[in-house]
Symmetry: C2
């Protein structure tokens, strides 16, 4: 498949104005992959956003059924891309092909899930408070409201999921589901995967006869393209998954605009594991194996990667540590996503190695190849003093490295939990009795995290209605919102309220007859009635 | 009633460390009212927030029923304050007593409405996706989530509703309803009203045996107290109603924290009126009367005050203008909230008077008394050229002044609508046929506003489930959220997700038996079943 390397501006325009180009690289070799990608110019970015904005009024008036069919057409289109998508994604990220195929399934299933949600229709939170003209001292008006799309959205994909959290990820699909046009910022570490992915969306736009401008994509290696995109006055919201530094910088840009916009960024997270005594007594070996498996999944390049493990000093904890150390030593080094992440990982591990009060317990027996950007797994150990001496341990290091923290008392567990920054998840291994005993610890973790996992591991997110992938900063920039699961639609909508508005002009979900048959809140009662 | 003028820190502490004090002023006389209020010090602010934070873990574990009773106790307590509250509010704001009584009713009803919502319980958006251990290729975990309180909230009341949008307003009541402790920043223009109001909450905290630290209040005249409050690392969210400059400054503080927090600010709005030909032909006089009545309600000091009126040039429009001019001339000048607002109003009106292409059509016949900080009503008129020459017309002037904009073609109406900033509301007077003809205009207004009103006026918000009081910036800082109506709870909660979590440790709303009998989303189906 030959790629063009240009900015995609709706269905009609491909533009490669700038002579500045960059290439996708194979991290396993460091070599350039075919096709030069043009850095988007300010004019191209402006054209993409203006095109999106011009498409908005007609796109937001499409029916839920139209958008459901659109999402299903995208799902079919993703499958129709065939191996070309998987091969390019694998080449640009070092992910094995099976992993790329699993990501593709997630994208396809996700698009279908949102189509189903649109068909069911109740997600719009339709509310009707009926008029009471006779009310004293003043008559009560008829007030109705439901959620409507916010406007053109700027989406930034993640490097670690080139298919499932990039052009074909939940940000894109949920924005399109709501009725928002979007301008994608292609990820510079997998520009070819982005371009191939975009094809599935563009063909669906065409096939469904939707406004051409609802999808555009600009490419760029530096920060400038993203900044210009977020600064554009017609962009109404941003969505981002990636590093704390990059996400925070764009969040700051979004908030310092003359007219600030929400910028939903999912950033760093240490995802602590707490291994409590009852569980250790029962199955320290199994937990250790599960932990190292979670730690090394995807070469540790998951936002939910467990970076700290807390336990109480005991023989069982010692046993747990030894089993984990053995597993770590057997881990075969793997290629990381790109040289930037690889270097950051090496320097993060190096800084741990040279920290005082921190002991390297184990590392991959096999030496990682620097040429192939390989990461070995590392396991460190420390205690209360070490954690105190190294507050940097609370920061995420992206890759397969984790630190065991041995505590002497339950109060120490609580103290360290209290010192954690916001985190996407916390996992607790224990018996139910452990939970009862450590109720105070759980209370603290509820305050610190978006998701609590019992006797499990944080990696491998279930994409469903109840999922929450977000949390207090820096897990995400607004803890009310999630970037995974059906709730993620709520990032791109706002209520519009209609007072004494004529039936014929109301959105279908607010009309008396309830033609969509959805659940609504009528005078405070939940009902599907007319 | 004698006031103490000190910071209220939970139930136990009154603190007046600083020698710097200020007084409430009667705007009708400019004279100080009894009691010196101490400016809060950094230590007092820190103590208030720390006390709130320490109360959070136990407060968020109270039951919905406990919090419902608490809100009802506050409602009773507000009524029990008697005339002292109304008299002080009237003295500090110039509002007539009846207006103060109406505000009190709104506060009382609002507290009861939230109590009812808590008892019904479904607002927590409980979601359950059941496990499927046999699913291939990987088993499906049990995932559940619901909304939980975010943490200590900083609340800034509005000057224009000393009872209904201040200490006893929706921000306070909704934060407490969710389970968030709060630290109130008393409004410097009605510090006495704030202190009296706080009494109703404190007595309810005590009576209900709730954690003492869930309510504190700090006073301060300058910006420093508010800034320090928002900067405090233990504050999890802010809520504000007031001026664009003040709100934006605090929004910027909230976002530039090392750990940013949501700052929900409801700011300026011009609330345009569109008077379409069919309606003008039918009832130009009645619309003009209604408009001037809305314009002058509360001396024009409403966030929903209509600052621009658009119509198409015609005899009927001329008639409308003349009737409105007559109503304006008959308006008796009234005292504004305080000298700062009064001066800003005078200077805003003055700048309109000296603008080119802008004609003063009418003003109150009776001369306003500067000593009494009185505002007269002013009505200006312009056209396309004038609007182009005076882009400042799109900015809110707080007070009873409005400008009629005569357009020549429907396309001009659309063009000006497109130029509007985000607005809390837009009102359209028309026949249903007008709406059909001006469909494009309505589409634009839907994009620009939070609430659309047909044949009515924006002032006088209905406090209900469907109400939305917010909109694109600068109407509010995050258009997803409202500051009026039951949806305003969603500002102070975030989802917490539990994966494979033991029943006994789940929040009651997520337990299998559905003991609370609430509506939940179980495997995507809305149900009240167990």
């Amino acid at each position: 498949m030959s790629l063009h390397g240009k900015q995609i501006i709706g269905l009609e325009t491909l533009s490669g104005e700038s002579d500045e180009t960059f290439f996708g690289l194979d991290p396993r070799t460091g070599e350039s992959l075919p096709t030069a990608f043009h850095e988007a110019t300010a004019d191209e970015i402006d054209l993409a956003v203006t095109t999106a904005r011009n498409a908005f009024d007609s796109y937001r008036q499409t029916t839920s059924e139209q958008r459901a069919v659109f999402l299903e057409t995208i799902a079919d289109g993703i499958n129709a891309l065939g191996d070309v998508l998987l091969e390019r994604a694998s080449a640009e990220t070092g992910h094995p092909l099976e992993r790329c195929a699993a990501e593709r399934s997630r994208s396809v299933n996700q698009a279908r899930m949102f189509a189903e949600l649109l068909r069911e229709g109740s997600w719009v939170d339709a509310r009707i408070d009926l008029a009471d003209p006779g009310r004293k001292p003043i008559s009560k008006p008829d007030v109705r409201s439901s959620l409507a799309p916010i406007g053109p959205v700027a989406v930034f994909g993640a490097s670690n999921f080139p298919i499932a959290i990039s052009v074909l990820g939940a940000d894109t699909i949920s924005a399109l589901a709501c009725g928002c046009p979007l301008v994608m910022k292609g990820h510079p570490a997998h520009p070819g995967t982005c371009e191939i992915s975009a094809g599935a969306i563009l063909r669906a736009v065409e096939k469904c006869g939707l406004p051409s401008g609802i999808f555009s994509m600009v490419q760029g290696r530096g920060h400038e393209v993203g900044i210009k995109l977020v600064q554009h006055p017609e962009i109404a919201a941003g969505a981002f998954t990636g590093s704390l530094a990059g996400g925070r910088a764009l969040f700051d840009v979004a908030n310092s605009r003359p007219s600030p916009i929400p910028f939903y960024a999912e950033l760093g997270s240490v995802n602590p594991l707490f291994v409590l005594p009852g569980a250790l007594a029962e199955r320290s070996g199994r937990i250790a194996e599960g932990f190292v498996n979670a730690l090394t999944t995807g070469v540790g390049q998951f936002c939910t990667n467990p970076g700290l493990v807390f336990g109480l000093s005991s023989k069982d904890w010692e046993q747990f540590s030894q089993t984990a150390a053995g597993e770590v030593s057997r881990y075969t080094p793997q290629t990381m996503l790109h040289s930037g992440i690889h270097h950051a990982y090496l320097s993060g591990v190096e800084s741990l190695k040279t920290s005082t009060d921190l002991e390297l317990v184990s590392e991959s027996r096999q030496t990682p190849s620097p040429k192939k950007a390989e990461a070995g797994c590392y396991l460190f150990r420390t205690n209360a003093d070490g954690l105190k001496a190294n507050p940097g341990l609370y920061d995420e290091i992206f890759g397969p490295v984790s630190t065991l923290v041995e505590c002497n008392r339950p109060q120490e567990l609580e103290k360290f939990a209290e010192q954690l920054d916001g985190s996407l998840s916390a996992s607790v291994h224990g018996t139910e009795k452990d939970l009862q005993i450590h109720r105070r610890l759980i209370t603290i973790l509820e305050r610190k995290t978006g998701r609590l996992i019992f006797n499990g591991y944080p990696v491998g997110l279930e994409v469903c209605h109840a999922m929450h992938h977000g949390g207090p900063y820096p897990a995400s920039c607004h803890s009310h919102f999630t970037s995974v699961g059906t709730r993620c639609l709520y990032r791109f909508v706002r209520p519009i309220c209609y007072q004494n508005w004529p039936q014929s002009m109301l959105p279908v979900e607010l009309q008396d007859g309830n033609p969509a048959g959805i659940w609504r809140l009528v005078d405070g009662e939940r009902t599907r009635d007319k």
